[in-house]
Symmetry: C2
């Protein structure tokens, strides 16, 4: 397992390791969107990824980085969202068992999705203490290996492969922008952009309501989120230490956006591009629309992180 | 202009004629959907087509089939939906003017879309008589050529190119299924399937509420719709005579589905495939789900006709 930030070789190896377990998702463009945004946007469609989100890349890399004899007791994680599904599916593909700790109030559809990949679901109270205790209990009971959703170099190397495909396929991007929550995708994206093209600018998009990354990079230390009140449910988490240390080296700027800006950007992509994306990945696009001068006429890569939304509870 | 059902050569020429004005849309598959349906489905994604629907193919073929000197007075049509946008854009690309008759109660977003392609919008009362009169008036006033949305062999040849791409790309389909409204797409699909593979079965999907095609093929003559009460707003029209004459030669069966079956099928595609499709093109997929024995283990081509929906008025 990696014990330092992934090198270029680490990311290339991760990509080879997971290639057969992931989808090489398409890159989409839209003249209409480009006209509105005033730049040329290349959308990496991880909404079409297995389990409906880029999280499959990191989970597959983390799990397949263990040798078969290390996988016998299975893998554990806590997640109310995409990471749980990704660990469940990756473990199943590896012939291992998955144990997913989920809050009692997780939606039925998410619980069923995890169970659909043959994982065991362990319910906890919806707070940090109960969640940590439940994880510890399951590890003690089963000997499973805990897979952290973002503060883990193998996860970061796996998530980096989305931007790797995007950059390699589109060629000559001026900049790339990803959303930031815990920072697994953000750290992986910023590293691979740096390795493939040191001149490429890396931006992040973050909801104003949970702007820990913006605040942390300004302060030079991690400033935890005080709120979790955002529609971008994948971005509520405070960034991890490993992630922060990478981001402070490689990120040019974090743009924050309001809740209304996220909803408007999400609706625009659904309407004009005819694809279903989750609120979290509307955040970078909202940041582009809000800061046209920063992106004017540039070739911009955007990671659309996933498409798992509750269609009965849309914000428009 | 074609005066008899398009031959194979006519459709090939139509395809060459419109190639530079349309998008060669992707064919998508989903293991998850295949498991649910019990067959192998190849979805032709015309929701990603220009103007968000296959109608661009027919309109472009009809308009570019006229010589430049014939295009000087422009083109007229009546449409509350995708055909109006398609004629507006195709006329613009041809350097001509478009006149689109729309009912007064058409949604603002559809009116704006047509105007966005520089077309002149003429409003009429929302009934057949007022619509016909408005079309006649505009033709008398401007000398524009009226482009019928489906009962027109050049339109049929253009719509056939969607299935042509699907069949040529996927190879070895056992059958193909399209929705049927006025019958432009249905007739084009059934013709090209017959030309490319005479053994390929052609099915149609139709809402129970507007089952004129089902009734007409059974009766051997056109039986107009008595109702227009369906969520599949692209399929409310009664089939045209030219369309009917083609369909009765080449269609194996019309499957009808209920409104709830349409909504359920639409939701399933949004959820599992992460794409936005309009209710009309959920109809063939609903037909597959309702008749699993007819499609069991087959390789099935499905035309997803478009993605123009009002996101603020979803049925789920």
């Amino acid at each position: 397992m990696l014990t330092s930030p992934p090198s270029f070789s680490d990311i290339k190896r991760a990509h080879q390791r997971i290639a057969q377990y992931i989808i090489e998702t398409p890159v989409m463009t839209s003249k209409n969107i480009d006209e509105i945004a005033g730049c040329h946007i290349y959308f990496k469609c991880e909404n079409f990824q297995k389990v409906g989100a880029f999280k499959m890349r990191g989970a597959a890399n983390a799990i397949f980085s263990y040798r078969p004899e290390e996988r016998v007791n299975g893998f554990a994680c806590h997640s109310s969202g995409n990471h749980g599904q990704a660990v469940a599916l990756a473990a199943k593909l590896a012939g291992s068992k998955a144990f997913v700790v989920m809050p009692k109030n997780a939606t039925k559809v998410k619980v069923e999705a995890v169970k659909g990949y043959d994982a065991e679901v362990i319910f906890c109270e919806p707070n940090d203490q109960s969640r940590s205790q439940a994880c510890q209990d399951v590890v003690d009971r089963t000997g499973a290996i805990l897979i952290h959703p973002f503060d883990n170099y193998n996860i970061i190397a796996g998530q980096a492969t989305a931007a790797k495909e995007l950059i390699e396929e589109t060629d000559d991007l001026d900049c790339i922008i990803a959303p930031v929550g815990g920072g697994g995708l953000a750290a992986g994206t910023s590293l691979i952009a740096h390795y493939l093209d040191p001149n490429m600018e890396v931006y992040l998009g973050e909801p104003e309501e949970v702007d820990d990354c913006y605040q942390s990079l300004k302060a030079g230390k991690i400033i935890p989120n005080k709120s979790s009140d955002t529609i971008a449910d994948g971005l509520k988490t405070t960034i991890g230490q490993k992630n922060f240390d990478i981001l402070k080296e490689h990120v040019k700027e974090v743009f924050t956006v309001s809740e209304q800006e996220i909803v408007d950007a999400m609706k625009l992509i659904w309407e004009r591009m005819k694809i279903v994306i989750e609120p979290s990945c509307a955040v970078p696009f909202a940041a582009i629309l809000k800061n046209p001068e920063a992106f004017k006429d540039k070739r911009v890569g955007v990671i659309l992180t996933g498409g798992n939304v509750d269609l009965t509870k849309l914000p428009f």
